[in-house]
């Protein structure tokens, strides 16, 4: 099926060239980092993980999110998602690759990375994180590719694949749970040391991930004949709404436990993030933006009229993505390291080079998404699955817009006559 990715319009090739340029620029920053070491970043002795690891954490959520389309389809036989499933799986592939790349650019001795496999260490959560990420990447590659290939040949999906599909659904939960375990098992890092972290990671993954997926699919609709079935979108937005509510509920539980117990270690990171400490207020505006945007997105999602407004929806999703990113892609890691073990504050801001390297990883992810989505939409177009109709509906909507229009035209004709 790869040949589908090779045949494209000028615009398609232009976009790929643009991404390659971004990757080229970013890789120069990475080569520089390889040559002189991680001192090109804003990280320090006290804040020893930064932008790279927080992007990794955020993207694990994106990888896990496809399951919000796959699970209703396979566990609840929700047929409307039938032609969306492949995009969830392909997005997961790109997200897994980006996660691995963010780890790879973060380590000090990347040439030794295979030591994690050469000296397998089951007591290290990082070992398990590598295992679950590789496993999830493999499962999605296999399931996605084989199902799409079968679709293209108008064959039913092979029966032997079922166990792998079910495994991949459970596996999706495991990747984000294990990623939370990376953090929540560390003594002395109070912001992370909470049993609800894994649950909160999953909740934020299941709202932010599908939101990003929907936004990317909205763009895909603009450039291809693919059209999401209306009901599938409706359901997914409802899932996003509930997950975001649960995410913020968990956050409030965190706030209650910290402040009602009045335990300094638990309160300090939250105080630092939201009102500053020891004269450092670097993150305060970002964190309040997170709170503002989070509740704004919830308000826009829980109101049925606003939720179903297709003009407004992309904006709502953008607001939600920004809110969850500020929370998990920025505050989480910095709040875990500050206050430091010495109860002091060491501010952290990523450097330009750090952002360039991150841009490279994101551009690689975008390239993978572009190629995979091109293949998937190409096959859908060949098969006539989930295609856009002139009335704006999808062929999977089984709408009667065309008949209605015809009837209206006929009626108009008879009136004229």
């Amino acid at each position: 099926m790869l040949e589908i990715a090779l045949k494209g319009s000028k615009r398609y090739y232009g976009w790929i060239a643009f991404l390659l340029v971004l990757i080229g620029i970013g890789s120069m920053a990475y080569v520089n980092q390889l040559m002189v070491g991680l001192k090109t970043t804003g990280m320090s002795r006290d804040v020893s993980w930064g932008f790279y690891i927080s992007q990794f954490t955020y993207l694990v959520g994106l990888a896990a999110s496809g399951v919000m389309i796959v699970l209703p389809h396979y566990f609840h036989n929700y047929k409307k998602n039938k032609h969306m499933v492949i995009f969830g799986e392909f997005m997961a592939i790109a997200a897994c690759v980006m996660c691995m790349l963010f780890i790879a650019v973060d380590v000090g001795q990347p040439t030794r990375m295979l030591n994690v496999m050469l000296y397998p260490t089951p007591n290290s959560i990082l070992f398990w994180d590598m295992t679950v990420l590789c496993g999830y990447l493999g499962l999605n590659l296999m399931v996605g590719w084989i199902c799409l290939e079968a679709d293209r040949q108008r064959l039913p999906h092979p029966k032997w694949l079922k166990p792998f599909i079910y495994t991949s659904i459970i596996w999706a939960f495991s990747i984000h749970t294990v990623t939370a375990f990376l953090y929540q098992g560390l003594p002395g890092r109070h912001y992370w040391l909470t049993a609800i972290l894994a649950a909160r990671f999953l909740a934020s993954a299941f709202c932010s991930g599908p939101a990003i997926l929907l936004l990317v699919l909205k763009i895909t609709e603009k450039f291809t004949t693919f059209q999401m079935p209306k009901d599938a979108v409706k359901t997914l937005v409802k899932i996003i709404m509930y997950a975001m509510c649960v995410n913020m509920f968990f956050f409030l539980l965190e706030v209650f436990t910290s402040f009602y117990s009045n335990i300094p270690g638990h309160m300090h990171p939250i105080i630092y993030l939201f009102s500053g400490a020891h004269g450092h207020h670097e993150l305060v505006p970002y964190m309040w933006t997170f709170i503002g945007f989070a509740f704004l997105s919830i308000a826009l999602l829980v109101t049925p009229k606003l939720r179903e407004n297709h003009k407004l929806l992309p904006w709502t999703l953008c607001i939600l993505v920004i809110a969850t990113w500020l929370d998990k892609g920025l505050g989480l890691v910095i709040g875990g390291f500050n206050p430091t073990p010495f109860d002091t504050i060491t501010p952290y801001m990523p450097t330009g080079k750090e952002l360039l390297v991150s841009m490279m990883v994101y551009a690689i992810g975008a390239l993978i998404v572009t190629v995979l989505f091109k293949i998937a939409t190409g096959v859908k177009a060949e098969m006539g699955h989930s295609q856009a109709l002139p009335c704006g509906c999808s062929t999977e909507d089984f709408c009667d817009c065309a008949e209605k229009a015809e009837a209206a035209a006929e009626a108009a004709a008879t009136v004229e006559a």
């Binding site: 006290d46 380590v107 003594p187």
Partner: protein
């Protein structure tokens, strides 16, 4: 060679023989015998007691840090990407959860010497994905700088901020004419920390900071009831850093 059944059986036979021999070959290439230095000193559990009534000024601690850093080729780097094995901090930073507002002023203003605690339950060892940091049978938490991949998970795991990462080339922070040739320098991209002077214990010397402290630091075997450390711990009131995290530090402080 023709691809016929005979050739296949031959190859299969050779492969089977290889499989049978492999475990033997692997075993023989494993742990090489170590000739121990008879002068070396050993213990079941090394530990340290620091008398902060004797050792509590910035100058004294800087002197010990200088000794330690020079023999271990610890680079001197300005800013917050620094590397340090031994350093000093006021009470509020050394014991943040054991502070009270009416602490004796003198105790509050002392400078306390900080270093790796060589914990009984070291979180850094628990989290390391390559076993590059490990606990020795004598309780010392050591590092293999050649296996470390530089993921810095141990730095996130350490509740004491005892670990440093080589963000850049460490030799840029060293006076190359004054390197100690008996201890390796590190490469960039690996984590390092105090090693309780394992290289000195192996040849029968006490850790350098203990030697330079003029009696303010006592070092010995915690499992031996007659050792110096046990004697001091019996007689004086001591505390350890962050007892709540369950790491059981091997460094005690007389306050």
């Amino acid at each position: 060679m023709k691809n016929n059944r005979r050739a296949f059986i031959k190859l299969a036979g050779i492969a089977a023989a290889g499989l049978a021999l492999a475990p033997k070959a692997m075993a023989s290439s494993g742990a090489s015998p170590v000739k121990k230095n008879p002068a070396g000193i050993t213990a079941k559990r090394w530990a340290m007691v620091i008398d902060s009534t004797k050792l509590h000024t910035k100058e004294d601690i800087a002197k010990l840090a200088e000794v330690c850093h020079s023999i271990h080729n610890v680079p001197h780097i300005e800013g917050n990407q620094n590397v340090k094995w031994i350093w000093g901090a006021p009470y509020a930073q050394a014991f943040p959860e054991q502070e009270n507002p009416h602490l004796a002023e003198e105790v509050h203003e002392r400078e306390y010497i900080l270093l790796c605690n060589h914990c009984e339950n070291p979180p850094c060892v628990r989290v390391c994905p390559t076993q590059a940091t490990y606990k020795r049978p004598d309780g010392i938490v050591a590092m293999d700088y050649h296996r470390c991949i530089g993921c810095r998970y141990c730095m996130a795991g350490c509740p004491y901020g005892s670990r440093s990462f080589n963000w850049g080339e460490p030799r840029e922070g060293l006076d190359l004419s004054k390197l100690n040739p008996e201890f390796p320098t590190r490469m960039r991209g690996v984590v390092e920390k105090c090693n309780f002077c394992v290289e000195r214990l192996a040849v029968g010397k006490l850790p350098a900071c203990v030697e330079a402290s003029e009696g303010a630091i006592v070092f010995g075997d915690l499992s031996d009831p007659d050792s110096d450390v046990r004697k001091v711990l019996r007689e004086r009131f001591t505390i350890r850093r962050k007892p709540a995290v369950g790491t059981e530090p091997g460094v005690y402080y007389i306050i």
